[in-house]
Structure formats: C-alpha cells, structure tokens
C-alpha cells in the first residue's frame, strides 16, 4: 500500500520535472530529502500523526529551507505535508530514481565480491550486463568476504549469483539429496 502511494507521488513529481526539463535537479532534491528523512528523529517527526496541518507545513518549510530546494520541489513537499505523506519521502525518491533511470535508459547494478575488484573487472561485468539489458549500467561495488569467491550482481532486483559460497551450497544440497556430485 505504502509502495503504491509512493509510486503515485513519484510519477506525479516525475511528470512535472520532465515537463519543466528539471529531471536531474528534481532527482537530486529528492535524494537529499530522502537522506534527511532517513534520520530516525526526522523520520519519527514526519510520521507523527499528532502534528497539526500548520505544524506539518512549518516542518516542510524548515526542511525545504535547510536543503535550499527549488520552488517545484518545495511545493511538492508542501503537498506531501498537507496529505500527511511526508513519511513516504524515501519511497518516493526510490521510485523517482527508477523512473528517471528508465527514462534515461539506464539500470543500476550492485556488484558484490569477496575481494575488491579492479576497474577492468568492473568494466567487464558492466559491459556484459549492458549487452544483456541493452541499457547503460550504473554499477556500484561492495565487498563481502563471506562470499568466499566469485561475484554476485544484483540488477534491479534480479540476482546473478556466481559466488563460491553459492556453488558450495549447491554442492552441499546435492550431497544432502543423495545426488552424485562428481
């Protein structure tokens, strides 16, 4: 339910920003807003149902002033405050980013490995997934020693697991099920 609400607001914001040709700026505004909204104290204040409409507006104005938001984004935040949807800021930013990525023909990928990959390896992986998806791949890397070896690529929720840990688990499952593993 909250996901669909955030998606609707994100679509509305995206349409406004696209029409005004400020998609990148709007995305930046929303990312900063999401970062602020993720702070526990701010999140609690945004989700507080006891705040009056005036208090919510004041809170929205204060955040907008602090972040020096553009007028369009400021208006959007006020609309969220009026409808008691300030707690949806994180979800709205996520959906907006996906809409923007789709609009720009790009996908985001997380590349995990047991040891840090050099840039050439990352480029090889990016090239493979760019060819596979037909889109530009924006990759970010992370190191997870528990993977033991190999890589895991998470691209828009679809996971390609090439880790040694996964292969060992597959081997262990084969042993447990009594299949030949030689």
């Amino acid at each position: 339910m909250t996901g669909s609400i955030a998606r609707r607001y994100a679509k509305a914001m995206f349409a406004v920003a696209r029409d005004s040709g400020t998609l990148e700026q709007a995305a930046g505004d929303l990312e900063r807003l999401a970062a602020i909204a993720a702070a526990p104290q701010v999140a609690a204040a945004l989700a507080n149902p006891l705040l009056s409409e005036t208090q919510r507006r004041d809170l929205a104005s204060a955040i907008s002033d602090d972040l020096a938001l553009r007028p369009e984004t400021r208006t959007f935040v006020c609309v969220l405050a009026d409808h008691q949807r300030l707690d949806q800021l994180g979800g709205i930013a996520d959906h907006f980013r996906r809409l923007l990525d789709r609009h720009l023909g790009q996908v985001r990928a997380t590349i995990g490995s047991s040891a840090a990959l050099d840039s050439a390896d990352v480029e090889r992986i990016v090239a493979v997934f760019a060819a596979k998806t037909g889109k530009r791949v924006l990759a970010e890397t992370r190191v997870d020693p528990d993977m033991l070896g190999g890589v895991i690529v998470d691209i828009e929720g679809k996971v390609y697991d090439g880790s040694l840990r996964n292969q060992l688990r597959g081997l262990a499952d084969s042993i447990a099920r009594g299949r030949s593993y030689l």
């Binding site: 997934f129 033991l148 070896g149 447990a176």
Partner: protein, 190 residues
Amino acid sequence: MIPGRRLFLALLLLQPALAAASEASGHGEHSGMATPLKLALMFVNLGLFVLLMRSVALPGIRRWVSERREMVVDALEKAARAKREAEKLQAEWKQRLANLDAELEQLRNQARAAIAAEREEILRSARTLADTIARDAQRAAEQELRNARDLLRAELARNAYELASKQAPQHLTSADQRRFLDEFIQQVSK
C-alpha cells in the same frame, strides 16, 4: 294330549262319586257289595295318578334324560378327540425318538462344520493381520532407514560446506578468483 285330558277330567269327575259310593257302602261291608266300588275307586285313583305323572313329571324327566344323554355323548366325543390327539402325539414322539440319533448326528456334523469354518476364518484374519503388521513394520523400518540416511547426508553436507568455507579463503589464489569471474561472465553472457 286331548284324549288324555278328557280321560283325566272324566276320572276326576268320577272319583268323588265313587268315593261317596264307597263311603256309603262302607256301612254294609259284610254284604260283599263294597269291594268292586273300592276296586274301581283304586283304578280311578291310579289312572289319575298315571295321567298326572304323565302330564307333569314325564316332560321334565324326558328333558333331563335328553340333556344328560347329550352331555354324555359330548363328553365321549371329547374323550375320543383327546385320545386321538394323544395317540397322534405319541406317534410323533415315537417317530422323533426313532430319529433322535440321526438328528443328533446331524447336529454334531453341523456344529463341527461351523467350528471348522470359524477356525478357518480366525486363522485367515490372523494371517492377514500378521501380514499387515509385518508390512507396516517393514515400511516403518525402511522409512527410519531413509530418515537416518537423509540425516546423515545432511550432516555430511553441512560439515563439508563448513569445512570448505573455512579452507577456501586459505587456498584460493588470485588466479582462482579470476577463473570464478571468467566463468561467471561466461555463464551470464549465454
């Protein structure tokens, strides 16, 4: 009855006259004239008595005799019927007694056959039950064996995984990592 009634009335009317005449002649008993009158009076009295008995007592006696006769006949018929039934019953019992041995033997044979059938049924049920129990026990044992085998395999797999997880970082080289990456890219590219 009408002639008898007339005779009775005549005798009844005649009797006082004869009685009076006999009384009158009683004074001259020695003359020998009184005896016929007395005799006639006795006959008249006797006739009256007979007629009286005939008209009054005789019908009752006849009716009593008739009823008595019917009772006796009825009792005789009942006795005859009872006798016939008793004879018939006696004949039946004689017949049954004569067939008693055969009947007893037949009953014994029937009882033996029933007991044998019951015994066979009990044995058959017992065999079926024993087969079922043995089959269930075998299935349970096989299932236990499978469970134990699965547990053993799972334990073996878990130990193998843990051992490999511990050993892998120490033995994996950069060449191995490169090979993993190459294989991954190759698989994804398919």
